[in-house]
C-alpha cells in the first residue's frame, strides 16, 4: 500500500514487517524516530517483540548480540557517536557471525556537536566486518532493510543499512509498504545456525589460540566474498515479488561517458538530475550510485568505470591523513585494472552541508577542465573566511 512515510518510518515499518523479535536501542538524534515507532508497535501489540531500553549504544549492541545467540531475529539502530561507541562490539558481532541488522543514520562526529548528514561515522567502521548498504530514498530504505535480514541470515554476517541524517531520515516521501503476506513469502522465519541450548550445551566465543584464529578470520572473508552474488540472487527474488531492484551499484549513462561521477546517499538523487541536464547539454557524462560499500564490489566498479576517461568521486566523509574514503576504495579497485582512468577526489557536504546541483556541476566542470587532479582531494564549497576569523591563539 502506498503511504507517505518519513525515512525513519520506512525503517520501522520494514522492521515490523520482518517480524523482528528483540530490539534494543539507545536514543540518538536523528535515529530517534525509528526507535520511537518501534517502541510504539511493541507497546500497542502490532509487533510481537521485546524492546529493551538499554542505557548506552554499547549495551544496545551487546544486548542484540546476546539475543541473537539466543535464537531471536534482532535489530538495533544508531548514529554517529552511538555507532562509534559500539565499535568494539561491531567487531564482536561480525566475529561472532551473528545475523544482526542495524539501521545506521549517517551523522557527523563531534566535537563540535553536529547532528547533520555526514558519512564519516559509518565509513569509520568499514573494517569491522559488517555488510554496508547505502540508501538513496525512502523506498530503497524499506526494501533494503527487508533484504538485509535475508542476506544476514544466509551468510551469517551483520548488515548495516545506512541512510542520510535528516535528508533521508526526516523527509517524507511516498513509499510502497508491502503486504505482510508478501513479506512472509520473501522472508521466512529465522532459523539460526548458532543458538545456545541447554539440551545441547556448548560454549561460544571462547579464547581462540593462534593455531585457529587465522582460519576463523579467513572464513569471515570467505563469507564476505559470497555476499555480492548472493545479494544479486536475493534482489532477483525480491524483484520478482515486489518488482523493484537496485543493484550493488547503479550505473547511469556510464557506457559512453567520458566523465563518471560516483556518490552515495541522497546526493545520488540530486546527481541523477544533474546528469540528465548535462547530457541534454551534450556532455558525455555518467554517474554511479554506490549502494554496497562492504564488501566493496571491485569487479562491478571496474566494469562500470573502466572505459571512462576520468572518474570524479564525491565523498561526504574524510579519512584524516589520507583522502576521502570512497575515492580510496575506488582507486584501490582500479589500480590493478588495465583500464585505469584517473580518479578525481572531491570532498563536500560534510556536517549536513547541502550537496546542491550547483556543487555537482562545479565538480563536473573542475573534472572536465583538468587533465589530472589538482590535489589528491579537493574540498568543494569551503568558506575560507571562517578559518581566518578564528582568533589567533598566540595573540591571547
Amino acid at each position: 500500500m502506498r503511504e507517505v512515510l518519513e525515512g525513519s518510518h520506512a525503517v520501522s515499518e520494514a522492521v515490523r514487517l520482518a517480524k523482528v523479535q528483540v530490539i534494543s536501542a539507545y536514543p540518538i538524534t536523528p535515529q530517534t524516530h525509528i526507535v520511537e515507532a518501534l517502541a510504539q508497535f511493541c507497546a500497542e501489540g502490532s509487533m510481537d517483540a521485546r524492546f529493551i531500553c538499554v542505557e548506552s549504544e554499547h549495551s544496545a549492541m551487546a544486548a542484540v548480540i546476546g539475543a541473537s545467540t539466543g535464537g531471536a531475529r534482532t535489530f538495533t539502530a544508531t548514529s554517529s557517536h552511538g555507532l562509534a561507541l559500539m565499535h568494539e562490539l561491531l567487531h564482536w558481532a561480525s566475529g561472532a557471525r551473528l545475523p544482526i541488522v542495524m539501521a545506521e543514520v549517517n551523522r557527523a562526529l563531534g566535537p563540535g556537536w553536529n547532528i547533520w548528514m555526514d558519512q564519516s561515522d559509518s565509513l569509520a567502521q568499514r573494517d569491522t566486518g559488517w555488510i554496508q548498504l547505502y540508501c538513496e530514498d525512502g523506498q530503497e530504505v524499506m526494501d533494503t532493510t527487508l533484504q538485509a535480514f535475508r542476506l544476514a541470515e544466509i551468510v551469517n554476517l551483520p548488515v548495516m543499512v545506512v541512510l542520510d541524517a535528516f535528508f533521508l531520515s526526516h523527509t517524507y516521501e511516498p513509499v510502497d509498504v508491502p503486504e505482510q503476506e508478501l513479506v512472509d513469502r520473501f522472508l521466512p522465519p529465522f532459523v539460526p545456525k548458532i543458538r545456545l541450548d541447554t539440551n545441547n550445551p556448548f560454549a561460544l566465543y571462547q579464547m581462540a589460540p593462534p593455531s585457529v584464529y587465522m582460519e576463523m578470520r579467513h572464513d569471515i572473508q570467505m563469507a564476505m566474498e559470497q555476499v555480492e552474488p548472493l545479494f544479486k540472487e536475493i534482489e532477483d527474488e525480491f524483484g520478482s515479488i515486489f518488482g523493484r531492484k537496485y543493484g550493488a551499484a547503479d550505473g547511469v549513462d556510464c557506457e559512453d561517458a567520458d566523465i563518471i561521477l560516483v556518490l552515495a546517499g541522497t546526493a545520488a538523487s540530486t546527481c541523477r538530475q544533474v546528469i540528465s541536464e548535462l547530457r541534454e547539454r551534450g556532455e558525455k557524462v555518467g554517474m554511479v550510485k554506490l549502494k554496497m560499500f562492504r564488501p566493496f564490489p571491485k569487479a562491478l566498479f571496474r566494469s562500470l568505470l573502466g572505459n571512462a576517461k576520468k572518474v570524479a568521486v564525491i565523498d561526504r566523509n574524510y579519512s584524516f591523513g589520507a583522502t576521502g574514503i570512497f575515492a580510496q576504495e575506488i582507486r584501490a579497485a582500479l589500480y590493478n585494472h588495465t583500464n585505469r582512468p584517473p580518479v578525481f577526489g572531491y570532498i563536500t557536504g560534510l556536517g549536513g552541508r547541502d550537496v546542491t546541483p550547483e556543487i555537482l556541476e562545479e565538480i563536473f566542470k573542475m573534472t572536465k577542465e583538468r587533465v589530472t587532479p589538482e590535489a589528491e582531494s579537493v574540498w568543494v564549497g569551503l568558506n575560507k573566511h571562517l578559518n581566518e576569523m578564528q582568533p589567533d591563539p598566540d595573540k591571547q
Binding site: 523479535q21 528483540v22 534494543s24 510481537d48 517483540a49 521485546r50 529493551i52 531500553c53 538499554v54 542505557e55 548506552s56 554499547h58 549495551s59 544496545a60 551487546a62 544486548a63 542484540v64 548480540i65 546476546g66 539475543a67 541473537s68 545467540t69 539466543g70 535464537g71 531471536a72 534482532t74 568494539e88 562490539l89 564482536w92 545456545l196 541450548d197 541447554t198 550445551p201 556448548f202 560454549a203 561460544l204 566465543y205 571462547q206 579464547m207 581462540a208 589460540p209 585457529v212
Partner: protein, 292 residues
C-alpha cells in the same frame, strides 16, 4: 523449597586451567550445584573466561556465552529477551563476572539491567583485583591492599566499593553476599535466586585468590572463612532493596584475617586499628539496617 538438601551433582569438568586452589572455581562449582542444568552462563572477560576453556574446549556442562568485558548485564538482557520470545521460561540466565567486570567497566551495563529489573541472576565472584591480567587494582580492591598498580607505599587508600549497597539502591528483588567457605549458605542463596524468577537477583561471592592474595593454596577456604568471621566480608541478604537479613555474626579481629595474606604484609598496627574502626563502623551500620 528444598534449601536444606545439599545437591550432589557437579556440572563442571576436571582439567580446567584455574590456578591450584582457585576460589573462583569452587564458587562456580557450588553455583552450578544449586542452579542445575537449565542454566546458561554469560561470561565476560575475567579469569573464568579462561578457566572455561579455550576453543574447542569447555569446562562446564551448561551452555556458555562469552562476551566482551563490560557487557555482561546487557548481553544477559538480550539473551533473556530472546528466550522469552521463544517461550522458554525455564532456563535461567546467569551472568558470571569478576569484580572488574562488575564494579568498574561492567557497572554501567549492570546498573542498566538492574534498573530495568531484567530477569536474570548476576553473580560477581570477587577476588578483589584484576587477577586475570596480573593483579591490578579495581574498585573492589580493599583499603590497605597492595596490587601491581598500587605497589609499595602507594597501597590502596580508597575503600572497597560497596556493590551490594549500590545494587540494593536499585530496589531489585534480591541482593546478597555469599562465601565459598559457607557452602550451605551459598547454595541456599543460589537456589533461592533461581526460584525467584522475574527480576534481577544479584549475588556477590567472595572467592579467595591464592595467587593474587599471596597465600598458600591450601588455606583458600580457611581464609575466606576468616573474612566472614572478622566481619570484613559480612554475609547478608537484601530483599527489595530494603529488608536486610544478616546471616552470620563474626566476632574476630580483622588483623587475624588480613595478616594471613602477602598483599597486606606492609600494614602496621596503626593501619590495622584504622581498618578495624572502618570495619566496625560498617558492621554497625549494617546491623542498624537489619533492625529497620
Amino acid at each position: 523449597m528444598t534449601y536444606n538438601i545439599m545437591p550432589q551433582k557437579d556440572l563442571m569438568y576436571s582439567g580446567h586451567v584455574g590456578c591450584p586452589g582457585c576460589g573462583a572455581s569452587i564458587a562456580m562449582k557450588f553455583a552450578l550445584r544449586a542452579l542445575g542444568e537449565k542454566t546458561i552462563m554469560v561470561i565476560p572477560a575475567c579469569c573464568w573466561a579462561i578457566i572455561a576453556g579455550p576453543h574447542p574446549q569447555t569446562s562446564l556442562k551448561v551452555p556458555i556465552l562469552h562476551t566482551a568485558f563490560e557487557t555482561a548485564g546487557a548481553a544477559s538482557s538480550g539473551l533473556r529477551a530472546a528466550l522469552d520470545m521463544q517461550g522458554d521460561r525455564e532456563t535461567t540466565i546467569v551472568a558470571w563476572a569478576g569484580d572488574g567486570g562488575t564494579f568498574d567497566i561492567g557497572f554501567q551495563a549492570l546498573s542498566g539491567a538492574a534498573e530495568r529489573n531484567e530477569d536474570f541472576i548476576y553473580v560477581c565472584y570477587d577476588n578483589e583485583a584484576y587477577m586475570n591480567t596480573g593483579v591490578q587494582r579495581s574498585s573492589s580492591t580493599p583499603f590497605g591492599a597492595r596490587t601491581t598498580t598500587t605497589p609499595g607505599q602507594g597501597w590502596k587508600q580508597r575503600r572497597k566499593k560497596n556493590i551490594v549497597e549500590a545494587l540494593a539502591a536499585h530496589r531489585i528483588p534480591y541482593a546478597a553476599t555469599a562465601s565459598i567457605a559457607f557452602p550451605e549458605d551459598m547454595i541456599r542463596k543460589f537456589q533461592k535466586a533461581r526460584e525467584m524468577k522475574g527480576g534481577t537477583r544479584f549475588i556477590h561471592v567472595y572467592a579467595t585468590c591464592p595467587t593474587g592474595w599471596r597465600v598458600p593454596t591450601e588455606m583458600c577456604i580457611k581464609i575466606a572463612r576468616l573474612a566472614v568471621q572478622t566481619n570484613f566480608f559480612p554475609l547478608y541478604e537484601v530483599e527489595e532493596g530494603i529488608r536486610y537479613t544478616i546471616n552470620h555474626k563474626g566476632n574476630r579481629q580483622v588483623k587475624e584475617y588480613m595478616s594471613t595474606q602477602g598483599r597486606f604484609k606492609h600494614l602496621n598496627d596503626d593501619d590495622y586499628a584504622q581498618i578495624q574502626q572502618m570495619v566496625d563502623a560498617d558492621w554497625d551500620l549494617l546491623g542498624r539496617k537489619a533492625k529497620m
